[in-house]
Every structure is written in C-alpha cells, then in structure tokens.
C-alpha cells in the first residue's frame, strides 16, 4: 500500500522534475531579433571556417542568406503546428492509447464491473436472506399461532375435564349421600319395625300375663297369640 502510494507519487513528480529540469525559461525561446541575427551570422562564420571575406560576400550577394536573416523579424505563426510537436504529441497519444486499451482501461473497467456485479449479487443475496427470514418468521408465527390454539384447546379440554370430574364427584357424592340417607332410612325403618316387633312381643307378653291373670282360663297359647295380635293391630290402627 505504502509502496504503491510512493510509486504513484513518484510518477507525477518525475514528470514535473523532467519538465522543470529540461525546459528553459520561456523568454529564451527564439530570443530577440538581435540574438537571432547574431546567431545567423555566427552560423555563417562557422560555415566559412572563419573566412570573413566569404561571409561578407555571402551577406551582400546570397539571397538565401539574406532571407534567413530577414526571417528573424518574423514571429512564428502560432497556429501552424511544429513538426516535432506533432511527432511527439501524436506518439505520446498513441503510446497512451495502446497502454490504456491493453492494460489500464480494461483493468479499471473490469474492476468496476466486477464490483457492480458483486454489489448486485450481494444485494440479491441480502434480498434472498430477507425473504428466507420472512418465510421463517411467517412459519414461526403460524407455529406460534398453532401452539397458542393448541394451548387454549388444552386449557378448554382440561377445564371441561375438570368440570366433568367435578360434576361426577358431585353426582357421586349426591348418590352416596342418597345411598347413605336411604340406608339410614332403611335402618331406621328396620329399627322401627324391630322395635315395634319387640314392643309387640313385650306387649303381647304383658297382655298375655294380664289376660291370664284376668281370665285365669285355660286358653292355649295359639289362641292367646291370635287374640293378642288382634288386639295390638287394633291398638296400632287406632294410633295411626
């Protein structure tokens, strides 16, 4: 990461230093008319190998040399492109274009497309996960509703069962109570009948004894019994 940054910074810095180091100041370009003329004359002297007479001759008579010196007064037409700048400018663009087509552009565009694809698939996955979660939630909710229904059904059943048990218990208790009452009544009835029989026997004994004493007769026991029963029934009927 650090290295990459350094490399990245180095590129424009190198370019900057390159331009600064090699490029002369602007006013050096073409210098002045005087400097241009001096340069032309210097060139002539060099060509003539120092033969000043030849230089003089050239200056006076050679139309071509005169035109060249005249050219110092003409500023270059700024709209006419320089050949070397076209060559280098065109070459620079061509190099950059090839570099971009082969390497830079596909890499950057590819990374962008891959990222877009990744984000899209992540979004799809998130959407799917959301749908799944919603399905699970719906499932849980329906199960919860079922469970609630089941619970309430169980409670109702338990309540019904409890009611049933209660009703049964009550019924049984009532039946038991009725049985007890019945038995008590029967026992009471039996006791009453026993008591009556006992009383009757006793009364008949008493009556017999009394009758014996009253009549002092020889009535046999059977006749005596019948007489006594008839008497008692009479008594009982009159008592209700």
């Amino acid at each position: 990461m650090r290295n990459r940054r350094i490399r990245l910074l180095a590129a424009p810095l190198l370019a900057l230093v390159g331009v600064l180091a090699f490029a002369g100041p602007a006013h050096a370009a073409g210098a002045t008319v005087g400097a241009c003329m001096a340069g032309e004359i210097e060139h002539l002297i060099e060509e003539a190998h120092g033969d000043l007479d030849h230089v003089k001759h050239e200056l006076h008579d050679n139309k071509k040399v005169q035109d060249e010196i005249e050219g110092c007064f003409e500023a270059p037409n700024p709209i006419i492109p320089e050949v070397n700048e076209i060559v280098w400018g065109g070459l620079a663009f061509l190099i950059l274009f090839v570099l971009m087509v082969k390497k830079g552009f596909p890499a950057v565009k590819g990374a962008m497309d891959a990222r877009a694809e990744r984000i899209r698939s992540d979004l799809d996955a998130a959407e799917q996960a959301k749908a799944d979660a919603q399905a699970v939630q719906a499932d849980y909710e329906s199960r919860l509703a079922d469970a609630k229904g089941e619970a309430s059904r169980l409670v109702d059943e338990a309540r019904a069962a409890a009611d049933q048990v209660r009703a049964d218990l009550i019924a049984r208790a009532e039946a038991d109570a009725a049985g007890i009452r019945e038995r008590a009544a029967a026992e009471a009835e039996a006791s009453k009948a026993q008591a009556i029989a006992d009383l009757r026997a006793e009364v008949s004994g008493i009556a017999l004894g009394a009758a014996e004493r009253v009549v002092q007769s020889s009535l046999d026991a059977e006749v005596q019994g019948r007489l006594i029963d008839a008497y008692i029934d009479e008594v009982a009927g009159s008592n209700g």
Binding site: R4, R5, R7, L8, A11, P12, L14, A15, L16, G18, V19, L20, F22, A23, G24, A26, H27, A28, A29, G30, A75, P76, P78, I79, I80, P81, E82, V83, N84, E85, I86, V87, W88, G89, G90, A92, F93, I95, L96, F97, L99, M100, V101, K103, G104, F105, P106, A107, V108, K109, G110, A111, M112, A114, R115, R118, I119
Partner: protein, 255 residues
Amino acid sequence: MNVLALNFPEVSHLFVWPDILFSGTAYAINKTVLIYLAAVVITGAIFLTAGRRTGSLVPAGVQHVAETGVTFIEESVVMETIGEEGKKFMPFLTTMFFFILFSNIFEVVPGIQFPANGRMAVPITLALVVWVIYNVVGVRSQGLFGYLKNSLFPPGVPVALYLIVTPIELVSTFVVRPFSLAIRLWANMVAGHLLLVTFAVLTHELWNATYVGAVAPFAMLILMTGFEILVSVLQAFIFTILTAVYIGGSLHPAH
C-alpha cells in the same frame, strides 16, 4: 513590445519553446513535448495503479480518479451522445479526455505554467484522428452512399433547401469540423495562458512600482488560475463530448 509602459513579453515567446534535445530535427524535444510525455506518464500511472487494486469493494485514492473519469465518460459523454453501442469507443474517449486534461492542467502547475495544448500540434492531430474515425464509422455503419446521403442531404428538409443545406453540410461536416475542434481547444488554452501571463506581469510590475497596486491584479491572477483549472477540465470535456457527438452522428443518421 511595450504595452502601457509595461514590459510585456513577445506573444510568440510565451508559446514557442527552445529545443532541449535533438535540436532542429523532426523529433526535437522541447517543454511542450515534455508536457505531452508527462501527461502520458501521469495518466498511465493513474490507470495502471488503479487497475491493480481490483480486489477492494470500496475504491480508494487514485482508484477514485480513474473510476470517476471512466464513469464520467461513460455516463456523461457516451451514454448521452451515442448510447450503448458507443461503449466500444470508451477506451479512446477516456484516453483522449485524460491526455488533453493533463496537457492542459500544466497551465496552472507552479514552475511549469504552460498548457501544452496552447500549441496547435496535439489539438490538430487529435482532431484529424477524430475526423478519420467518425468518417470511417459513418461509412461502415451506413455504407458510403448512405453516409454521404444522410450527411449531405439530411432527411426532413424541403427539397429546395438542399441548395443551401448541402453545401453547408459538406463544408461543416467534412472540412470545418476538425479545424473548429482543434482551434476551440487551442484558442482557449492560448487565451487562458495569455490572461495568466497578463495578470502575472501586471502584478510584478505594479509590485515593483507601488506595492499596493499589485493587490488587484494579484487577486485577479488567483481568480484566473482557478478559472483556468475549470477551463482545462471543460475543454478536455468539450473536445471529448464533441468527438462522441460526431461518432454518434455517424452511427445514427440524422433524425
């Protein structure tokens, strides 16, 4: 040249740079050439570095520059002017945009302060390349006859008007276009450079003369520097979008 008693440099001296290497040859190197090469190095460095960071989901640093540029060219240039089928021109248009942008932007880089497109070489070269491309695209997509017919006789024009329209279209489409494209970029950069030099010279001279008087031109110099950054980007954009418009026009005949 003396303007308002100020020592204003010769205009040609602001644009013509002396050769540094291979002087006098067709491959002489000067400051303008170095700026072109710097534009190649910077654009190449941005894209190659950005291209390596393919794994990260969140773009960072230089990736932003490259991706913003690509997105900008795709959405604001190609899709607006050509449409889906223009995407095959994306590498060309992106290269063109960044190359012009970085050639221009050196206008405001301290110590360099020269827009390489203030020289005619690259604008006219690129404009001629564009001219070739949109004509080839036109002939390929519509056939030579169809392309010429649609270019010179735009449909929907009353027949009588072709007398006027056809010569105009002929001149504007096949002759003037590359030059207007080149001159628009070149002249904008020349004008910007002259403006900056003017305010810089004014500031310098007025500082020497009065100190206080330099405040106004210096403020303008700052303002113009900001403005020229805008112009550098804008001209790169205009050159690119016009290229796309011309290509789009060749792909889809005039409606």
